[in-house]
């Protein structure tokens, strides 16, 4: 390799020896993250499949159960995640342009928004606990089928909705918690000046993960909260 142009090139200390240049390393890392996200799509996809089948079978009971979710908090949380995706994109952009201070600000904002999402989720789950909508021995859903005040909701079907609700939003929240951990790490190293225009791969790939979790919620929100809201 002594005569190759790469050998004489002054290389970035972040360049690992099995890559020929930073661009190849960056593209390989990015491809790796995308392959992981492909597995995550199938992972959440399984739960979405189960949800869609039961919703098809027990639509009226699912509609009644869905109406007990707080649509305002759900919409606000969707907006919170969309804002956090913007701050992530702006953080990566700041790294591309070599602006350390800006990176730190946007990463900190992302963290705050992520924690806000989790806080609102906590509030929602607490109210579900108080209403006895958590599946288990104390489960009790009071209500009638939409448009039929004389027909009570089937307890088994309502419990099924909430099992799926907690499984899916719980798994999503776990991904958010992991994301908050990753971004705390990124915030620290960004503050130390580790991410430059030549090397900011951890920022980019963590951003991909965060956007993916946002997309999962973009589908969860209408499917769980907006089954049947017509008055």
């Amino acid at each position: 390799m002594a005569d190759s142009p790469i050998a004489v090139e002054h290389h970035n200390p972040a360049l690992k020896h099995h890559f020929s240049d930073m661009e190849q390393q960056r593209e390989a890392s990015s491809l790796g993250m995308w392959l992981f996200l492909a597995t995550e799509i199938m992972f959440f996809g399984g739960m979405f499949c189960a949800y869609l089948i039961y919703r098809y079978w027990y639509f009226p009971d699912f509609a009644a159960a869905s109406s007990s979710l707080d649509i305002t908090l759900g919409t606000v949380n969707t907006a919170v995640l969309i804002c956090s995706s913007l701050t992530v994109v702006m953080a990566v952009r700041a790294a591309q342009l070599g602006k350390r201070q800006e990176q730190v600000v946007y990463l900190a904002l992302t963290l705050v928004l992520g924690l806000a999402f989790l806080g609102i989720k906590g509030i929602e789950w607490t109210s579900k606990f108080k209403e006895h909508h958590i599946p288990g021995p104390t489960f009790n859903f009071e209500g009638s089928l939409p448009g039929h005040p004389d027909q009570p909701v089937d307890q088994h079907h309502a419990q099924l909705f909430f099992s799926l609700y907690f499984a899916m939003t719980g798994m999503h929240a776990l991904h958010m918690i992991i994301g908050v951990g990753i971004f705390s790490y990124l915030l620290y190293y960004a503050w130390k000046g580790k991410y430059t225009p030549e090397y900011h791969t951890p920022l980019e790939n963590s951003g991909l993960y965060w956007h993916f979790v946002d997309i999962v919620w973009i589908y969860l929100f209408p499917l769980l909260y907006l089954i049947d809201r017509k008055k």
Partner: protein, 95 residues
């Protein structure tokens, strides 16, 4: 990932579009469209997801063709899972 830097203006335009689409989703839920409520909600959600994938996640700007192949493959397998499962369960005749 290409080194193409997305302009702040584009990022903000996408962000505002996503917020507006969220509001539309919530608003339309209160209008009676029968079975089309679900269709409209999912179409809007897919539009939002497309904006995030293409622009925020850079897929529109990448020079790495394999990334696009991986994304399309993942979506294909997801649709295969959902499509075949639903084709079975929704066409069963139950008592």
């Amino acid at each position: 990932m290409s080194e193409h830097v997305v302009s702040a203006k584009t990022n903000i335009a996408v962000w505002l579009t996503l917020l507006v689409l969220t509001g539309v989703t919530a608003g339309v839920a209160f209008i009676d469209l029968g079975p089309f409520n679900t269709v409209v909600a999912l179409v809007i959600a897919t539009l939002k997801a497309l904006l995030v994938v293409l622009i925020f996640m850079h897929v529109k700007y990448t020079s790495e063709k394999l990334v696009k192949a991986v994304v399309l493959s993942a979506v294909f397998f997801l649709l295969l899972l959902l499509g075949l499962s639903l084709a079975d369960y929704t066409t069963r005749l139950l008592m």
